[in-house]
């Protein structure tokens, strides 16, 4: 298959983007973080990476759970690999366990008699960012919380844009009464207080990942329509659209094959800001207790814990630093894209 050739203008935009260094490096950093988070189980997990036991090799990270009895521990539930590591090390039989860097999963409570969570960061206990009020590892909660937040935000973005862009294009393309009526409808719809709806919904059912996205798309698709409507109006009068129409192209073909590719710069410019918006929205909902149900790892829930336990400064500071870093990176990328796609640099006015 032939690779799509980049037209010189796009190439120019890309080069321009690359030349804005903090945006470029932020983009790389973000991509790496997202990529790594998809395999978070390898880095932050209570399951061992490798176990060598009596001549057998085990790779527990992915796949079915291995009961403790397999390794000569007297129980049938999932092996505690941290304990197993201590045991095998003490036995000096050449058997060993290799644990992930942070050997905790985000759900387990590290509760010991006489020690009351939250506990401060400790190298010895391998809680590098301490534990939260239920004794769960803060680092693990931050990492898995990141994965959920970023995936949530990306899916939300996709859904919002599919609906928003389609409706916006249609409004701009057909114009007239259709546009007028839809505009009023959107105005009315935008005034439904989104937070109240979420509170009402969350009080009668437990929203899960998908229902939360659905609710948020329900009230979040409108903003894109305004921009798309305007650019489509502009593009519609261009000669190439008239040419396509003269050739007998259908409305759908004109919108999706001709107009949409020419409005891509508008869409792309908005993406980073929508991503940060999605993350902030999920975090604030979780903070208020109307987001994903417990015990889902979530930044908002950590933030809520942190603010009510201000003396356990490691909880709030971990999640606040993580949020600042992430949102700053996204904003840098956004700025760079906006700069690179700035029409004043590329547009040719006739």
């Amino acid at each position: 298959m032939e690779l799509p050739r980049l037209d010189p203008l796009t190439l120019k935009k890309f080069q321009r983007f690359r030349s804005i260094r903090r945006g470029w490096w932020s983009a790389i950093g973000l991509a790496v973080l997202i990529g790594l988070s998809l395999f978070a189980e390898v880095f932050v997990n209570s399951r061992a990476l490798v176990v060598r036991y009596r001549g057998h090799w085990y790779f527990p990270t992915y796949g079915a759970f291995i009961p403790g009895r397999t390794f000569g521990l007297g129980y049938d539930y999932e092996t505690n690999y941290r304990k197993l590591q201590e045991k095998l090390e003490a036995e000096h039989d050449g058997d060993f366990v290799i644990l992930p860097l942070d050997p905790w999963n985000p759900y387990e409570n590290d509760l010991r008699d006489g020690v009351y969570p939250p506990t401060p960061p400790s190298w010895k206990d391998r809680h590098y960012l301490g534990t939260d009020t239920s004794g769960r590892d803060v680092l693990a909660r931050v990492v898995y919380g990141f994965r959920i937040a970023i995936l949530f935000s990306l899916i939300l973005l996709l859904c919002n844009y599919v609906v928003g862009v389609s409706v916006g294009c249609a409004m701009g393309y057909w114009g007239g009464a259709f546009d007028l009526i839809l505009q009023r409808l959107i105005e009315v719809w935008s005034n439904v207080p989104f937070l109240y709806v979420i509170i009402i919904v969350a009080s009668v059912m437990v929203p899960n990942f998908m229902t939360l996205i659905l609710i948020m798309v329900f009230f979040g698709w409108m903003s894109m329509t305004w921009y798309m409507r305007t650019v489509t109006y502009k593009q519609k009068t261009r000669e190439y659209v008239l040419a396509a129409r003269a050739l007998g192209a259908t409305d759908a073909a004109i919108i999706f094959r001709h107009i949409l590719p020419n409005t891509i710069s508008v869409i792309v410019t908005f993406i980073p800001f929508s991503i940060s918006g999605g993350i902030v929205a999920l975090t604030s909902l979780d903070y208020l207790g109307f987001g994903l149900p417990p015990p889902t790892p979530s930044w908002g829930e950590l933030l809520a814990q942190g603010t009510s336990h201000l003396d356990s400064v490691w909880i709030a500071s971990s999640v606040i630093v993580a949020m600042i870093v992430l949102l700053t990176m996204v904003t840098f990328v956004g700025e760079a894209i906006r700069e690179a796609f700035d029409p004043r640099r590329h547009a040719v006015y006739e």
Binding site: A64, Y75, D76, Y77, Y107, P117, V206
Partner: protein, 609 residues
């Protein structure tokens, strides 16, 4: 002569008014007092207040929000501030906070009718309203009419006083009877068929009643009256210097402080700072983090602030998890038993709750002889959990460590409404996983969670019932309340043996029979394994500045946190504290000079079993 005539003139209308008895036919009738009643007064039980108590001073406490109204009924009246209002409504009789026997309140004497429905009362001739009116039988007739009135906009009370209380019978100005709508034991008659007198000359019932009396201070019969309402900021109650009850046996040496000042501080952490600066006299330390971590430092070490942990022996709330037996999974008793043994309540107690709280063993604790002490809650035991779950056919494990049967995972949803309990539930969830059970947590808004349970849409209800004076079983465990919505039978249990026991319990009128039946009922509920008891907190904990003084022991069997409840509704353990002004001056001087006192943390177990 002229002056005598004048005096007669002044006296006459007052007499005429006193003689007039208010007895509307809808709630009241006139009668002739039956002969041969055995009047009781119980005026010889030990007292529990301290003769050393001094009158005077101001008690400073706080509330998280300003009350929405000063009415005690009607919209928004059931809030945190209500104990201050209702704590000044003296009931006809109290229950002694140590012996639990009835003792006089507004009534000087009382007698029970043979029909198990009627209680006769003779009012204390001294009893008077804060505006000087004497308390008379008419006030009780009006009290019943008032509570049944649609104008108070309080359907719960309307319903209660229609269904539970039948009428008032007036014999004379100070003698009357209250007739219960159903037969009850003597204790229950005093407790459940009680009427609060209402001041007829003060209220005008009408469609705008709730608005009209929103911020009005009604006359009351208790030791304090609200004197200052500083909207949104504070409310001050002032002691009545010549209160009618002050020298009576059971009131003496109680209600000592001259003023109770309730300030609104909208955040607990900020309130704590106020307390540490001596602007609040006491602070509840119910939360482990407050008792163990916050209540530390120089003020405590130098003995300026003292800590008290007081164990009571009062009916305890029934906290627990109810397995819905209409949910197919829990139809099998083996599964219920498996769940019982898979809940690691003990670990929650030891870790999340700092070991301060104990395991609740049955659904009836703190009820004296009615508590079946042979019943012990089932412990966390993976071997037993496994045994019962295997027996029920859940013997295979899925790849995630959760048991499976016919392609279905062993999972159940726990419905709850208090976000503060999430940290307990996540521990239960993790521990249950070891038994191959997947608990899913469903945190709903408090009201929505309760609605889900009432509609029986829950699989496991995680909740609690407030304690009553007498144990209650019919609503929660009787078969007639199973399999239907809007009832409290969260187990949906319909067990013929249990039904029979509960039926007999409801029809018993002697304490001994009732207690014996209560013990059998607890046993049967334990056997059904549908109720997992969780925790009990049979104590209150407070910190207080050393000028705040208490009797020895500092509370009674029935006491509750006296800082959160400086006055309590219808209970006789309140108002025991006093302020030692000399100690206050001494402490304030010591804080300036650096003088110290012995550090004091008292853990009082006088009433701990």
């Amino acid at each position: 002569m002229t002056s005598l005539l004048l005096a007669l003139f002044v006296l006459l209308p007052a007499r005429a008014r006193a003689a007039e008895i208010y007895c509307p036919a809808s709630v009241c009738e006139r009668g002739v007092l039956p002969k041969g009643l055995r009047w009781r007064a119980n005026d010889a039980d030990p007292t529990w207040a301290d003769p050393r108590a001094q009158k005077g001073g101001t008690l400073h406490v706080y509330d998280l929000s300003f009350p929405l109204t000063l009415r005690f009924v009607g919209p928004d009246s059931n809030d945190d501030f209500r104990p201050y209002v209702l704590g000044n409504h003296v009931p006809l009789t109290y229950f002694h906070p140590n012996t639990r026997r009835p003792i006089p309140g507004l009534a000087e004497k009382w007698a029970f009718g043979a029909d198990h429905k009627t209680v006769y009362f003779k009012l204390n001739p001294k009893a008077a309203w804060s505006d000087g009116h004497p308390v008379t039988s008419s006030d009780f007739a009006y009290g019943l009419e008032f509570m049944r009135s649609k104008f108070i906009v309080d359907p719960w009370y309307n319903d209660y006083y229609t269904k539970e209380v039948s009428k008032v019978v007036i014999y004379d100005e100070r003698t009357f009877a209250i007739v219960s709508a159903k037969k009850r034991t003597d204790r229950d008659l005093l407790y459940d068929a009680e009427i609060d007198p209402q001041p007829r000359w003060f209220y005008t019932l009408g469609p705008t009643w709730a608005q009209d009396y929103q911020w009005k201070t009604a006359p009351n019969t208790g030791p304090y009256q609200i004197t200052t309402i500083d909207m949104g900021r504070r409310i001050v109650l002032t002691r009545k210097k010549d209160w009618w009850g002050r020298d009576l046996r059971y009131f003496k040496n109680r209600y000592n402080v001259d003023r109770i000042e309730v300030s609104v501080i909208r955040d607990q952490q900020i309130a704590w700072q106020y307390f540490m600066r001596g602007k609040l006299d006491g602070f509840p330390l119910e939360l482990p983090s407050f008792w163990h971590d916050k209540a530390k430092g120089p003020e405590f070490d130098k003995g300026y602030i003292k800590k008290l942990w007081f164990y009571e022996d009062r009916p305890l709330p029934e906290y627990g998890m109810w397995l819905n037996m209409d949910y197919p999974l829990f139809k099998d008793k083996n599964v219920r038993l498996g769940f019982q043994y898979a809940m690691n309540i003990d670990k929650v107690l030891k870790t999340v709750l700092h070991g301060d709280v104990e395991r609740l063993n049955s659904n009836t604790e703190g009820y004296g002889p009615a508590t079946n002490k042979t019943i012990k809650a089932r412990p966390f035991d993976l071997a037993l959990a496994g045994k019962y779950l295997d027996k029920a056919g859940w013997s295979k494990f899925g790849p995630d460590g959760i048991r499976v049967k016919d392609g279905r995972r062993l999972t159940a949803v726990v419905t709850y409404g208090n976000p503060a309990h999430t940290e307990r539930l996540v521990v239960l969830k993790q521990e249950a996983k070891k038994a191959g059970i997947d608990l899913q947590l469903q945190l709903l808004d408090d009201a929505a969670a309760f609605k889900t349970m009432l509609e029986k849409k829950h699989e496991i209800a995680y909740s609690g019932w407030a304690p009553q004076e007498e144990p209650q079983y019919w609503g929660q465990y009787a078969g007639v309340n199973a399999h239907k919505t809007q009832t409290n039978n969260f187990c949906n249990i319909d067990d013929p043996v249990l039904n029979k026991l509960i039926h007999r319990f409801r029809g018993a009128y002697t304490d001994a029979t009732k207690d014996a039946l209560a013990r059998d009922i607890q046993k049967r509920i334990w056997e059904s394994a549908c109720y997992i008891p969780t925790w009990k907190q049979a104590y209150f904990r407070i910190a207080y500045w050393r000028w705040l003084k208490w009797p020895t022991p500092p509370g009674t069997r029935m006491s509750d946190d006296p800082i959160s409840y400086p006055l309590a509704e219808g209970e006789a353990w309140d108002g025991l504290y006093w302020i030692d002004e000399k100690a206050k001056a001494e402490t304030e001087a010591a804080m300036r000079s650096g003088r110290t006192f012995p550090k004091s943390t008292v853990i009082d177990k006088v009433y701990k079993e």
